[in-house]
Symmetry: C2
Subunit: 244 residues, 2 copies
């Protein structure tokens, strides 16, 4: 166990094969794991020289795929030795390798997502994905089919009690409902349902759980403001951002 | 969808966090997926600066982990647009992104394996892994806990009929049995059971399936010779390799 590894330090480089276009234009509000918010959609645009149809032949026969990506927004922040994962309520500190935190060496992410469609349009290859937890503009470095006989481990256990929060009731102001109806007609995006699913998962950091606080989050080009009340979350307003 | 990705081409580098010490000292004989050969064991040795205990705190509470690695033996061969996966019998050609082939852009591998033990010995951090499909000396770039509630997708489907071969009967010569007993006493490795499990999966390439052919494979420091007969596989000999 004393010789050096085959790959010298820093000697292996990654080339993005594609890029994510997602509803999550900022980190706040992104579900803690894929699959929690079915309405969360993204399109993976394949980049040259990987945009060749034959490289995707047969992929549309799988319901789910693994997306391997780089936590590009974390690169500047760096990695940590320990973190407090949300599924332990944000209180218990564990090693970064005992977590799925983005603050990890090599900044590699792995998400299993639903493959909604594989499209070939105007010379582009586009994959529509559902149940995503991916930030807009995320560089993707690999995709693989989800193989149930190999990836679905029936006997896998975790020694932790995963404390996923119970779904929270979400209420909308009349103004927000009117906005959502009009936005869906114009953009084909069911933003009210998306907001509802995201807030049900309680996206607040563990340190900001007191009632009465206001929050903002960006979904696509919309700024959403909502309030954490005693027994529910109330969505106050939706405003289109000016696109420069 | 026209701006360039955040990470420029070739701009992201990977640093190995560890290295695999496995029974598979060559590619032939490696199971096609993890979990198929429970007796296939490896030790992951964590490399500096990642060999800090606190980075692994809590990991031992998970039964399974994801190992992300580089297909280092494939780097020189390069990637391919299409391949013929073994679970389609080696006949049907699919896109590399519709497969788990190592001949893929970025050469990233992903295996879910059993975490048998997390050991701190002589200043080293060592993870004992079971059910592996990893070549000896594989550079590991990340590990993550397997989260059943997120990674076990009950409704995932594949449109393909996965043609995993039916288990093959494996017979051993008396010489091989004597070798196996002595090797296990000396090394603590149940090599007969390992050979049996590997051959039951039929490691032959699709192009070499005719009966009567002899094969060799290396496990640890042992050269194993076996013959594919009409109705079974017969293990002819085991020889220790001279270690230079």
């Amino acid at each position: 166990m004393s010789t050096e590894p085959e790959i010298p330090r820093g000697g292996c480089t990654l080339t993005p094969i594609g890029r994510i276009h997602s509803c999550f234009t900022e980190k706040f509000g992104i579900p803690r794991q894929p699959g929690l918010v079915s309405e969360a959609r993204a399109t993976l645009e394949i980049l040259p020289p990987f945009d060749r149809r034959e490289m995707f032949k047969g992929l549309d026969r799988f319901s789910h795929i693994w997306v391997h990506f780089i936590f590009h927004e974390i690169l500047a922040e760096g990695w940590k030795h320990t973190i407090r994962p949300p599924w332990l309520g944000g209180r218990t500190r564990v090693g970064v390798f005992a977590s799925r935190s983005p603050h990890r060496p090599n900044f590699l992410g792995q998400s299993v997502v639903r493959l909604l469609a594989l499209r070939f349009e105007n010379g582009k290859i586009l994959l529509d994905l559902g149940g995503i937890d991916l930030l807009d503009q995320t560089p993707v470095v690999d995709i693989k089919p989800y193989l149930p006989y190999s990836d679905r481990i029936a006997e896998a256990t975790s020694g932790y009690a995963m404390s996923m929060p119970a779904p929270v009731a979400v209420l909308f102001s009349e103004e927000v409902i009117a906005f959502g109806v009009s936005y869906q007609r114009e953009q084909g995006r069911d933003i009210l349902r998306l907001i509802g699913q995201i807030l049900q998962q309680d996206p607040r950091p563990a340190s900001q759980k007191e009632a009465g606080r206001d929050f903002g989050m960006k979904l696509w080009d919309v700024n959403v403001r909502w309030q954490a009340r005693e027994n529910d979350f109330f969505v106050l307003s939706c405003r289109r951002l000016m696109v420069g």
